[in-house]
C-alpha cells in the first residue's frame, strides 16, 4: 500500500489555478476531509496558487497525500523563481498588497490551514507549503 502520493502541477496560466483547486479538492475528498475542511484547504491553495502566478511569474505545485497509520494528510508546496518577498512580515499583514488585491491572501491562507510555511529570498524565489492533517 502506498503511504504517500506526489503530483506535480504546473502553474503557468489562470486555468492552471482551476486545475490546482480541482486536484486539491479531489485529494481532500480522498483523505476523508469534511466539506468545511475541504473548502478551507482548497481556498488557501487557491490564494497561494494565484500569488505564484501573479507575483512569482508562474511556478509549480507539488501536491502530496499522506497516510501515516490512522493519520491522513494533504500537503501542497508552491514554488516559484520570481522576485521573492523582501519583507515577509509586511506581506503577511492583512491589507498589504502590491498588486491591487485585497492583501488578504497570505494572511487568510495561514488562518485557513493548520500548517503554513513560507520562505522567500529576494531575487531567487518563494516557496509556500500548506498542510492539513486529519
Amino acid at each position: 500500500m502506498p503511504l504517500s502520493k506526489r503530483d506535480l502541477l504546473p502553474i503557468r496560466a489562470e486555468t492552471d489555478i482551476v486545475m490546482v483547486r480541482q486536484a486539491v479538492r479531489k485529494a481532500c475528498i480522498e483523505q476523508g476531509f469534511s466539506l468545511v475542511e475541504q473548502t478551507k484547504f482548497v481556498t488557501a491553495a487557491s490564494e497561494i496558487a494565484r500569488n505564484t502566478l501573479e507575483y512569482g511569474g508562474g511556478g509549480e505545485a507539488a501536491l502530496e497525500t499522506h497516510i501515516e497509520g490512522v493519520r491522513k494528510g494533504v500537503r501542497i508546496v508552491f514554488t516559484d523563481q520570481g522576485p521573492g518577498i523582501a519583507d515577509l512580515e509586511q506581506a503577511m499583514r492583512d491589507g498589504f498588497t502590491t498588486g491591487g488585491g485585497m492583501g488578504h491572501g497570505l494572511g487568510g491562507a495561514k488562518r485557513l490551514v493548520e500548517h503554513f510555511e513560507i520562505t522567500s529570498t529576494p531575487g531567487v524565489g518563494t516557496t509556500v507549503a500548506i498542510a492539513r492533517w486529519k
Binding site: V18, R25, S46, G101, M102, G105, G108, R111
Partner: protein, 290 residues
C-alpha cells in the same frame, strides 16, 4: 552533398509509392476508416507526396523555407482536420512517418549497386520525413489547443445569464469558476442590464461557485459598489456554511453587503425592498373581502 535524387525517384514511382504508403498506413493503424473516408485519405497522400516532390525539385530540404509553403499548408490542414475528427497524436504522426518505409524500399532497389549513395540518400530521406512528422505533430497540438480555447470561450458566453425575477429585480446565478476573465464579462453584462432596465435590486447568487477566495470576494464587492453607485442594491445569496467560515478566516468584510444563505431568502428581501410580498391566494381573497 549533391542534389538529392529523391524528387526524381518520387516522380518516376509516384503511383507505386502511393500504393505502398496506403499499405503502410493501414499497417500502422493510421487509416481510421471510421473517422475518414479511404478516398479522402488517398487524395491527401497524393497531394502531399506531389507537393513534397515539387518542393524538393525547387531545391533545398529546409522545410521552413519558401519552397515548402504548400507542404506546410497541407500538413497544417491535415493536422487540423485530424484533431477535429478525433485522431490520436500517434495516428496523426503515423500518417507522415508511414511514408518512410515505401521510400526506403524504393531507395534500396534503386541504389542497390551503390551502398554509399544508398546510405546517404536514406539518411537525408529519414531526416526529411522526421522533420515533416514533427511539423505535423506541432500543428496537431496547436489545432487541439485552438479547439480547447474555443470551447472555453463558448462556455464563457453560455454561462452568463442575467435573469429578471420581477419588475425591478434581477438575479445573476453564478456557476463555476469566478476568477477568470469570465467574471469581468459577467459583471459588465450585469451592470449593463441594471442600466437598461431600471433595477432596484440585484441578487448575486453564488450557490454554484465552489470556491470563494479573495479575488472572487473582491469581484463581488466591486460589483456591489458599482451597482450601488447606480442606485441599485445588491444581495449576495448562496453563502453556504463552509463558504461563510472560509470568508471569516480570509478576513474579508462582507458586513456592508446584505447576504443570504439561499436565493429564496434573497428574493424575499428583494420583494420587500420593492414593497411587494407573496401571499397565499386564500389569504389574499380574505383580505380583499375584509
Amino acid at each position: 552533398m549533391p542534389d538529392s535524387r529523391l524528387p526524381d525517384l518520387i516522380a518516376r514511382h509516384e503511383a507505386d509509392l502511393l500504393a505502398q504508403w496506403a499499405k503502410a498506413l493501414s499497417a500502422a493503424g493510421a487509416t481510421r476508416e471510421d473517422l475518414m473516408k479511404p478516398e479522402e485519405l488517398r487524395a491527401q497522400c497524393a497531394d502531399l507526396l506531389g507537393s513534397v516532390r515539387q518542393a524538393l525539385q525547387r531545391g533545398g530540404n529546409d522545410i521552413t523555407g519558401q519552397g515548402w509553403e504548400k507542404v506546410r499548408e497541407l500538413l497544417t490542414e491535415i493536422s487540423r482536420t485530424r484533431a477535429q475528427q478525433g485522431f490520436t497524436p500517434t495516428a496523426t504522426a503515423s500518417f507522415v512517418f508511414s511514408l518512410k518505409e515505401p521510400l526506403f524500399q524504393r531507395l534500396r532497389s534503386e541504389h542497390a549497386a551503390n551502398p554509399a549513395l544508398l546510405v546517404e540518400e536514406t539518411w537525408s530521406t529519414t531526416t526529411l520525413v522526421d522533420k515533416l512528422g514533427l511539423f505535423t505533430i506541432e500543428s496537431y497540438i496547436k489545432a487541439r489547443e485552438d479547439i480547447i480555447r474555443r470551447q472555453q470561450e463558448a462556455m464563457l458566453e453560455l454561462s452568463t445569464p442575467v435573469v429578471k425575477l420581477w419588475d425591478g429585480i434581477l438575479a445573476l446565478p453564478l456557476i463555476g469558476t469566478l476568477d477568470s476573465a469570465r467574471t469581468q464579462i459577467v459583471m459588465e453584462s450585469l451592470l449593463q442590464r441594471v442600466v437598461t432596465e431600471s433595477t432596484d435590486v440585484v441578487i448575486l447568487d453564488i450557490t454554484g461557485v465552489p470556491t470563494v477566495d479573495t479575488l472572487v470576494a473582491q469581484h463581488l464587492l466591486k460589483t456591489v459598489t458599482a451597482a450601488r453607485l447606480m442606485g441599485t442594491d445588491c444581495i449576495i445569496s448562496g453563502i453556504r456554511p463552509q463558504i461563510a467560515q472560509t470568508i471569516v478566516h480570509l478576513g474579508v468584510d462582507l458586513t456592508s453587503v446584505i447576504t443570504k444563505s439561499s436565493l429564496a431568502d434573497a428574493f424575499k428581501v428583494a420583494l420587500s425592498r420593492r414593497d411587494l410580498m407573496v401571499v397565499k391566494r386564500k389569504a389574499a381573497a380574505a383580505g380583499a373581502q375584509a
